[in-house]
Symmetry: C2
């Protein structure tokens, strides 16, 4: 379970650690980044987990997302996992940008040949969390964790939050794939990871819109930003309206705030712009 | 002289324009980015020119520098030129990261075969400026321009400022190559662009430390950030102490503020951290 530090980078008064460990769940070395704000030198800080989208590594958001700005101000650590196991050697794992490498979809695959390694759900919710909280037990408060993410990672954040009531203090998302069962990306990923027979049944357990319909975890306060200029929104990959409709269905319309940002696109330019808002959102609950 | 818009990206309430034009000075198509803050929709805004370092294009700082954050707040446009002409076809132009493509050093080369195209000094000070101020005459105030940059671009910002008293309202820099005549990077570039005979004599006209010794332009207020963890600082490529010594020599020690940032490195993580300070610095003079 030991974590090795590959480099330490000073940023926003704190340190961005580029880390690696051997993941048993994924069966590969896994890299991740951890931003420790300056306050972590004095006392344990809460943690915001950022889940990235398709094709990303831990570095994209660390470099371009601007979350260190707000996290440093509030005194929140930010954990940036990778988006899949890497270098497993499965035939086809690198064939497309939206399945396999860089596209783990934050599920535990049940279909061969993916089921042995493509377990990003367990990786994020259990193994990585346990590893990080053990390795940084003096700096991180494991009882105060929030989650957020973008696109596939927005799907990750929402679904992990909804599947684990009370585990995360808050959730927010950028351009999340909110209803993967109804989106081309989601259908492709779920068919691959769960198999052609089971993909809808198993997929429903990881579909945030379906999960929301069944939500019994209390009043929600979910912040979502989607750009009206986002090509994937236009191509109906994100379907935030379905998520909103589910919220309405369970009487939690006020608990889901989808902000349609005029002209903003799917890129990190959008994350950078609204990162402070999402960190503020998490801070409300992490310091409550 | 016409500018074509390749894309428009919403960011920090404004627009990042990815632009291109045919540069006669460089003899190639040249790309550049221009951030227009929201205030530019109502009235002309001042401009901060950002000059990038070795290997960069206009995109690196646009994506990772976070200058849009402060620029949006103050109402300042940010102009991001490229770092050299591209695709000229000179033998050897792509051989090293620190000479030729991506390494124009903001000089006008006098030695063959570089002298026809490698004229980044004239490109930035004249052609690009004229092009941009003409194409965006309703949004930009050409009488209010400041300059900043990183590494080779820090050298660019300081030398352009010192060579043109009054042209720029202020200058700042990140990890600038402050005394290229005494740095391996500078010696290599100047020998290549000015020739083995002339490189020291011609180089002195572009060496910020030499230029500072001769400064007659009035009281200075230069902000420079250098990371103590910066490997190029440790390898004596930057030599800020020489620049400071020159300032002392001319009685302007108070006019040059070199902040040695503990552990910070040469990367954009450092720019992102202190970008607001540099934009604030420029704002003081752009809105004076």
């Amino acid at each position: 379970m030991s974590v090795t530090t590959q480099s330490t980078i000073a940023t926003f008064g704190g340190k961005l650690l580029k880390l690696a460990h051997d993941s048993s769940v994924l069966g590969s070395e896994a890299k991740f980044n951890l931003f420790l704000p300056p306050q972590a030198q004095k006392s344990k800080v809460p943690v915001l987990i950022w889940l990235s989208g398709l094709t990303c590594t831990a570095d994209n958001c660390s470099e371009k997302g601007f979350f260190q700005h707000g996290a440093s101000k509030h005194g929140i650590a930010v954990l940036y996992p990778d988006t899949s196991p890497r270098g497993i050697g499965i035939k086809g794992e690198d064939d497309s940008y939206d399945f396999g490498t860089g596209a783990g979809f934050y599920v535990d695959a049940t279909a061969e040949p993916w089921s042995k390694n493509y377990k990003m759900y367990s990786y994020v919710t259990e193994e990585l969390a346990n590893t990080v909280f053990e390795a940084f037990k003096d700096q991180l408060d494991s009882s105060k964790v929030s989650i957020t993410g973008h696109s596939m990672g927005g799907h990750g954040a929402l679904s992990l939050y909804l599947k684990n009531p009370g585990k995360y203090k808050s959730v927010s998302a950028f351009a999340p794939i909110s209803n993967p069962l109804k989106a081309p990306w989601g259908e492709k990923a779920f068919k691959g990871y769960f198999g052609e027979q089971d993909w809808e049944k198993k997929g429903a357990e990881h579909d945030s819109t379906e999960l929301l319909k069944k939500w019994k975890g209390g009043p929600l306060d979910i912040l979502i930003d989607v750009g009206t200029g986002d090509n994937f929104y236009k191509q109906k990959q994100l379907l935030p309206e379905n998520f909103l409709a589910a919220a309405k269905e369970i009487g939690q319309e006020k608990g889901v705030n989808v902000r349609f940002q005029p002209d903003y696109d799917h890129s990190y330019y959008t994350m950078a712009t609204f990162a402070d808002d999402h960190v503020d959102h998490a801070a409300k609950y992490l310091f409550a």
